[in-house]
């Protein structure tokens, strides 16, 4: 049984005086125990909303969530707010993008770690403090005992993110969701944090959903990758296959727009043309069609369905062929 099984998940935001907005549109994927799965896509494609829906953290009013999110077989979407609260931090942990704003500025780091331990593992404060120092040590924070009494503003950006990772993993959840955990950090620190995450999930057997707009991040970390576009999964493949042979023109474009160490010298980076503002609604065809170098007439008439081929999933009428040079 999969650890997490997301199927046909949709999130529609309804604001008074505005037309409903579908941020996530029938997303399905699953995560096996200990597996690392990537959710990749440009800004606004629904990565964060998907993760918040899994965590039960979307605003109760104004966001309509449908579909199914099964965790170890239990449907999370039908849990009460209180039941979901019991699971967050214990079964599922989450790390967010901006470590500074994600930490409470007026509370010492120690308490921000121990409060999870007290809540879910019923530890008394004293014992929790010892455990917290241990946790900070595990995520590579030097001199952890002293750090317990410090406040977020006294830590460096990288250390803050390490502290947040320690909090998220404090109760040894089976699933960790990391939503662009390195975007707000310096490049050198980014690599360290990614290495730390990789090491931690490997050692603890935690499954990880890695959310990023950067395929480079995915390259070193994920077993399987879901590429999202306009709230839908457009391609899913195992990491090696995706990198070796991207099939969806959008995936292809993403790969062509990141610097690669193994790229032949002189190859230019090609950004994807246009922006999400050019999208057409999914029910009129393929949302990516207006930006797609491979677009055909059918692409703006018939909505592409998810097809399975060679163990990967693909939603495209005219996928990239092997050795095809895609014009920018």
């Amino acid at each position: 049984m999969a650890l997490l099984d997301v199927s046909d998940l949709s999130v529609v935001f309804q604001r008074r005086g505005e037309p409903p907005f579908t941020a996530v549109d029938g997303v399905s994927f699953s995560v096996e125990p200990g597996q690392t799965v990537g959710l990749v896509g440009e800004s606004g494609c629904g990565k964060s909303v998907t993760s918040l829906a899994i965590m039960g953290l979307l605003p109760r009013r104004g966001a309509v969530v449908t579909g199914s999110v099964r965790f170890e077989g239990a449907e999370l979407l039908s849990l009460s707010a209180r039941q979901m609260r019991d699971r967050r931090g214990r079964d599922l942990g989450m790390v967010f993008q901006d470590p500074l704003s994600s930490l409470n500025p007026v509370i010492a780091i120690g308490l921000q770690v121990t409060e999870v331990l007290e809540r879910h593992r019923g530890m008394p404060r004293r014992q929790a403090m010892v455990e917290a120092a241990d946790l900070l040590d595990k995520v590579g924070i030097p001199d952890p005992r002293r750090r317990l009494d410090e406040y977020p503003h006294q830590l460096s950006g990288g250390m803050r993110q390490r502290a947040l990772i320690a909090m998220a993993l404090a109760c040894r959840p089976r699933l960790l969701i990391a939503d662009e955990p390195t975007t707000a950090l310096d490049v050198t620190i980014q690599a360290q944090i990614l290495a730390l995450l990789a090491e931690l999930v490997r050692d603890t057997g935690t499954a990880l959903i890695m959310i990023t707009h950067d395929l480079g991040v995915v390259a070193g970390l994920c077993d399987e990758v879901n590429v999202l576009y306009g709230g839908r999964v457009v391609e899913r493949a195992r990491r090696h296959e995706l990198f070796r042979r991207p099939r969806h023109p959008y995936t292809h474009g993403l790969l062509a727009s990141i610097p690669r160490l193994d790229a032949p010298r002189g190859e230019r980076l090609v950004p994807i043309r246009g922006s999400v503002a050019d999208n057409i609604p999914w029910d009129h065809g393929c949302a990516f069609a207006p930006r797609c170098p491979n677009a055909l007439g059918t692409c703006v008439e018939v909505t592409p369905q998810m097809d399975e081929e060679d163990g990967r999933l693909l939603r495209c009428h005219n996928p990239v062929q092997e050795n095809q040079e895609v014009p920018a």
Partner: protein
């Protein structure tokens, strides 16, 4: 922290010195004066001159100020000429200070006790009936003049319904033992429960009138601050940890939302004296405000000088307390 406090107290000396000059000059520049106030328009030229000399008002103003400052440094602020003629200004101040403090404390406690929880609830149920009522109500609360509200309360609850006393600090003829000058406290200390209850009953209406504006302001600031904090990433982090609502509320939301509220409470406390002048007048409450109003009517220089200097000192001290409590709540201030 200690050095900071000392520096602020030194600043206080400067503030008081400058303010004493300003108030000294300003009072003497006002039309009329203690002489006309005491003798009326009918006083003879002879009597006027004599009184002017007696009060020292015939001397050049900086000589007057120099003498005032010299005496003030040794604790002598002169004798009252109009409020309670003959009594020393200090005596009058000490007599009335507990009354106004008692009134202000009850008012600010009321404002905080209602303003913070209601502001919090309004923010949590944004757009609900409590929120809408609170927002409109607090707008009215700020807009309605204090003396009008004081009259209204007095008329309704004291005159018409007779539930509460209409004026004063204590029912005439009640024999209560004085210890501190704070009547409620005295009643409690001496276990004269009826005296304590009587003093408290006298406080209710004026304190309510005085509390309206601070309440309205604290309500609005709390509501706005909580709304801001609820949107913060760290509240989402707290939620992602599955913490109970009560921990999230107390530890993560309220604590951060209190930062602007503490400043507001300080400013409102400092501004209470202005409201106290009007409230005390309506309820004939023998506090500083009443003395201040009377002092202006009768151009009682010594009393006015002392009161205004004291008011400024209290204001500065309250703000110091605010800044210090800020440091207690916010580690970013403390560890800089």
């Amino acid at each position: 922290m200690l050095r900071y406090t000392l520096r602020r107290l030194l600043q206080l000396v400067g503030v008081v010195l400058v303010l004493s000059m300003l108030i000294f000059g300003w009072l003497r520049a006002l039309p009329g004066g203690p002489v006309s106030a005491l003798l009326g328009e009918r006083g003879t030229e002879e009597a006027r001159r004599e009184l002017t000399a007696q009060l020292g008002l015939d001397q050049p103003i900086f000589v007057q100020y120099g003498k005032f400052l010299g005496r003030a440094l040794s604790g002598d602020f002169g004798a009252s000429t109009g409020v309670q003629p003959g009594d020393s200004a200090i005596e009058i101040f000490l007599q009335r200070f507990p009354a106004t403090v008692e009134l202000s404390v009850v008012a600010i406690v009321l404002a905080v006790l209602f303003g913070i929880p209601l502001g919090y609830l309004a923010a949590r149920r944004r757009g609900g009936w409590l929120d809408n009522l609170g927002v409109v109500g607090s707008l009215v609360g700020v807009a309605v003049p204090v003396f009008f509200l004081a009259f209204l309360l007095k008329y309704l609850f004291a005159v018409q319904l007779g539930w509460l006393p209409a004026s004063g600090r204590q029912t005439g003829g009640l024999d209560a033992t004085r210890v501190t000058g704070f009547f409620v406290l005295d009643g409690l200390l001496t276990r004269e429960w009826d005296a304590a209850a009587d003093a408290l009953a006298h406080l209710v209406l004026p304190a309510m009138a005085l509390a309206t504006i601070p309440f309205a302001v604290i309500f609005r600031i709390t509501r706005a601050a909580v709304l801001d904090v609820l949107d913060e990433d760290y509240v989402r982090t707290a939620e992602s940890k599955g913490l109970t609502t009560s921990v999230i509320r107390r530890r993560h939301v309220l604590r951060n939302a209190m930062l602007p509220v503490v400043t507001t409470i300080g400013l409102q406390t400092g501004a209470l004296l202005a409201g106290a002048v009007l409230t005390e007048k309506v309820f004939a409450f023998p506090g500083l405000g009443e003395a201040l109003a009377l002092g202006f009517e009768r151009r009682d220089y010594p009393v006015l000088q002392l009161m205004i200097i004291m008011a400024a000192m209290v204001y500065v001290l309250v703000n110091l307390v605010v800044d210090l409590s800020y440091a207690v709540i916010d580690p970013r201030v403390r560890t800089r």
